[in-house]
Amino acid sequence: MKSAVIVFPGSNREGDVLRALQSAGSRVEKVWHAETELPQGTDLVVLPGGFSYGDYLRCGAIAGRATVMDAVRAHAARGGLVLGICNGFQILCESGLLPGILMRNANLRFICHRQFLKVERNDTAFTRAYAKGQAIDVCVAHGEGNYTADAETLKRLEGEGLVAFRYSDAQGHITQDANRNGSMNSIAGIYSDKLNVLGMMPHPENLIEDLVGGTDGRGLFESLVSSFPRAA
């Protein structure tokens, strides 16, 4: 399996996700934002966390229009897998690959803390290593993670089972307290219609080792790698 991690100026968690992918068994190539094509044989495109172009405009607004995003959109249109984490999720929303937008956190501050997520479904390429309804212990680190969409979009996401993760407590209960950034319906991550594009605010890539907090994030990368035959 081969992953392409897109590096925008201002990306800063590209190394973290690269390490997580490699340790799950993926080959990984970094791709500079100014490229017009993805490397031959790319199975998964990852848009990493960070502050692309400084995020002085709306988060992800400039990156969503970067040269390389045409190639990413084409990859997604072919049914290729795309994962956007944190700033990557914001970029996916800005690039039109996912609906909705990430607003400032409800408390208007950047927040970094451990966070449980409820896995809404485990029949996608991203979550097959988890159990449905499982609460996984990962972390968040963002200032603008407050998922917001119009009523119709929300209805469609919920109706079509496109919510990937919700902020929950340790038992997987969806509570107001667990939803610290104020996201609508406690949404932490969503899929595209065809389930091949996932955007999520939390960072599974930082929870892949017991030494640094736990391994609940590994499942996401192992799911992805196991979605492809070993020879590829």
């Binding site: 100026p9 201002g10 800063n12 968690r13 190394g15 973290d16 390490r19 997580a20 966390g49 960070g50 502050f51 172009y53 400084g54 995020d55 002085y56 501050r109 950047f110 927040i111 970094c112 803390h113 972390c139 680190a141 200032g143 960072h203 890539e205 930082n206 892949i208 080792e209 030494l211 640094v212 907090g213």
Partner: protein
């Protein structure tokens, strides 16, 4: 011949912060009246910040070497060898005044500046810490300053992409008019790929890199400069504006350029910008420097030579490149979208020559700008000795449990979660121990090693007895590193004091330095970098003497470490170190009894070393994983923190006789640690300690959901936690 179109009046000299005799010295040095640009240059080089003129003779007494020290003070940052061909590069620096004026940008650029110091030397930053002191909570400015400073530190570090893993936050009325914002950065480089500021070779290109130069940060003296340029725009505030995005690009571009082999010397443009960086590179290399300011990338039109030389615009670097490699270097910088311009060359004249629009604006002897700066042996007086306070003379609380509850929820001792949750402390995936513990632990790359990092000082001790306080600051940092299993290797110091021109505050400075030096020697813990911040006072009211110590230690196996959390029920709680019940200058005396007096606890460095080495060896041999050092608030507060961290209670059943219970619980005797271990192991530890003469006693046992103090005084963990976590968020939302 240098033209001089602005008359240098005594007023102008004064506005540049030069004393008449200092100006006289400068005129004698150059043999003529300076130009306005030259006056600006010398004012920047000879101010306290750049020249260390009041502190230099005292700093000489600090130990700065050890077999593992690669570079001590004098470069952009200190460098120590951590084995495996790797070096740890670190430094701490203050941004106190700017942060008081504009807390967000002041703090943000403080972080940016120190990160730049570290990556200038070829290191990739892997952790950031800070040391913050604010005025009393009731002061109307305090909430705004806390909010702005914390957001600024987070805003810069989070975007740049370095985890902020530790720090210290405290409040005192003595910081009402002068807060402290000290930022520390820690980076890694290969020992054979470290870059220095010393220029070599004549005729080599000097290259300007990074963001463009604007009028921001031109020092306050230029407020008075309207008379020489009445057409200039309105004066920008003297606080710089940070751009973490530009800094991130600058980091990547610099590291890429360094790999290419094109870099001879590099210096970041920090305080005094282009002036200081260029003079330093030339003076260190015994070379002259000639700059053509027409080539400097400017953000604004019509900037004068004076403004360009004094601008403190952020995210800029100066390099000396190997000749012939300009094209390659330029390509790297343009890839990252950053400015790149050859703005001068090295010469063999030992002159610092500034040209602008076909005119020579300055022509100064380069060595003398640094070396001949005035050095003062300022008069100082020893701080009056405080009497030791007998434990018996300190009022007992109505209930020790109530007193403890009050302390865990007090501004200084409460949880600082509200602060560190605004810092990305998890990025890079190497944070083994997160904020809130004795020291942070960060894994070194993918390897087995780890770094233990901390920032410490107890300002009230320093005020009561500068010498003991200075010792204690170093001992505390050493102890915090030890408590997580690290071997303390070196420190960076950030010496925050009031005006050196008042003999009392100069006396505090001298006393603290001596104490720091003594402790560093005794503990094999040399100073490898640092920063002096004087004149921290407002309307004649000085801050508490605050020499913040940033400590770095090494864990050979990062998986073998300790944290403060009680992990299991039924473990024996052991106290290592002797207790005398020292209440002078304690938190108990101050926050429960309302008395700020007495001598602080004395620090016996030999005992510190003996007890600490013993505890570290217990951690390293795998016998102990729960350790907490005993400091502010004594044993009681330490126990509460251990219980809250692990969500496991404890019952204290025994305590040594001979002094009042509150002195035992809240006394701040030094060189002490609390451990929690399996009961079988406990017996071994007590035996081992006894064999080498280290005081060790079992105080009680872990378990339950309360902390039970002697006399069956129980506080539920829920109550403790609620009090501990509530104060800061409530305060920041105006509820407390």
């Amino acid at each position: 011949m240098i033209r001089n179109d602005v008359a240098i009046t005594p007023e102008l000299v004064k506005e540049h912060g030069l004393k008449p005799d200092e100006y006289e010295r400068f005129v004698n040095l150059i043999g003529r009246e300076p130009t306005i640009t030259e006056l600006g240059i010398v004012s920047a080089m000879w101010n306290e910040h750049c020249s260390y003129k009041s502190s230099r003779i005292h700093l000489r007494g600090l130990p700065t070497s050890a077999p593992w020290v690669i570079q001590g003070p004098g470069e952009n940052a200190g460098v120590i060898d951590i084995g495996d061909g790797l070096a740890c590069i670190f430094k701490m620096e203050s941004h106190n005044h700017p942060s008081f004026i504009e807390p967000y940008q002041g703090a943000a650029t403080g972080v940016g500046g120190i990160l730049r110091d570290v990556f200038t030397m070829g290191a990739r930053p892997i952790a950031s810490l800070n040391f913050l002191r604010f005025g009393e909570p009731d002061h109307p400015k305090t909430p705004h300053l806390v909010s702005g400073v914390v957001a600024g530190i987070g805003g810069y570090g989070n975007s740049f992409g370095v985890p902020t893993v530790g720090g210290s936050v405290g409040f005192d009325k003595r910081y009402n008019g002068n807060i402290l914002v000290n930022a520390m950065a820690v980076g890694l480089a290969r020992t054979d790929e470290i870059f220095y500021a010393k220029a070599t070779g004549v005729g080599n290109p000097i290259v300007y890199l990074g963001s463009k130069t604007g009028r921001d940060g031109i020092h306050g003296a230029t407020m008075a400069s309207a008379e020489f340029d009445e057409s200039s725009e309105e004066k920008r505030p003297t606080v710089q504006v940070g751009d973490p995005f530009a800094e991130k690009l600058l980091l990547e571009a610099c590291l890429e350029l360094m790999k290419s082999g094109a870099v001879i010397a590099i210096q970041d443009m920090g305080a005094a910008g282009l002036t200081s960086s260029a003079v330093e590179m030339g003076a260190k290399g015994n070379l002259g420097i000639e700059l053509d300011l027409d080539k400097v990338p400017c953000r604004e039109e019509g900037m004068t030579a004076y403004e360009m030389m004094l601008s403190e615009s952020q995210e800029r670097m100066l390099m000396v490149l190997k000749p012939g490699m300009e094209k390659e270097a330029e390509a790297i910088f343009h890839k990252w979208g950053l400015d790149f311009a050859v703005i001068g060359r090295t010469t063999d004249t030992l002159r610092f020559v500034i040209k602008h629009q076909g005119e020579v604006k300055a022509d100064l002897p380069i060595k003398e700008l640094g070396d001949e700066a005035p050095v003062y042996d300022r008069p100082w007086v020893e701080s009056p000795r405080q009497p030791a306070i007998a434990a018996e003379s300190v009022t007992a609380p109505v209930s020790e449990a109530e007193a403890l509850l009050k302390l865990v929820g007090s501004p200084d001792q409460c949880s600082k979660r509200w602060v560190w949750e605004q810092y990305d402390h998890l990025i890079l995936g190497n944070t083994v121990q997160t904020p809130g513990g004795d020291a942070a632990i960060v894994r070194v790359e993918d390897g087995l090693k780890g770094l233990a990092l901390t920032t410490d000082v107890t300002p009230r001790y320093c005020e009561a007895d500068p010498f003991e306080g200075g010792k204690q600051a170093v001992a505390e940092a050493w102890r915090n590193i030890t408590a997580v299993g690290g071997l303390p290797l070196a420190i960076t110091d950030n010496l925050n004091f009031a005006s050196p021109e008042r003999p009392e505050s100069m006396g505090q400075f001298v006393g603290c330095i001596r104490g720091i030096g003594e402790a560093c020697k005794a503990l094999d813990f040399p100073v490898v970098s640092g920063n002096v911040s004087l004149y921290n006072e407002t309307n004649g009211q000085g801050i508490l003497p605050t020499p913040a110590i940033g400590g770095v230690g090494l864990l050979d196996d990062v998986t073998v470490n300790a944290s403060m959390a009680f992990r299991r029920e039924g473990e024996a709680i052991i106290l290592i170190g002797a207790t005398r019940g020292w209440l002078g200058q304690s938190i108990y005396l101050r926050d429960v009894c309302g008395r700020e007096e007495g001598a602080p606890p004395p620090v016996d460095l030999a005992l510190e070393k003996r007890n600490g080495d013993f505890v570290r060896q217990l951690i390293r041999s795998g016998q102990v994983t729960t350790v907490h050092d005993v400091s502010d608030g004594g044993i009681a507060l330490a126990l509460a923190e251990m219980a809250m961290a692990g969500q496991v209670g404890a019952e204290i059943t025994a305590y040594p006789e001979g002094f009042p219970l509150h002195a035992f619980l809240f006394g701040e005797d030094q060189a002490r640690y609390l451990l929690a271990v399996d009961e079988d192991v406990a017996a071994d530890i007590l035996y081992e300690a006894g064999a080498v003469g280290i005081p060790a006693v079992t105080l009680g046992i872990t378990g339950g959901d309360s902390l039970i103090l002697p006399g069956r005084q129980a506080i539920s963990l829920k109550q403790l936690k609620a009090a501990h976590e509530a104060w800061l968020p409530d305060y920041m939302t105006g509820k407390s």
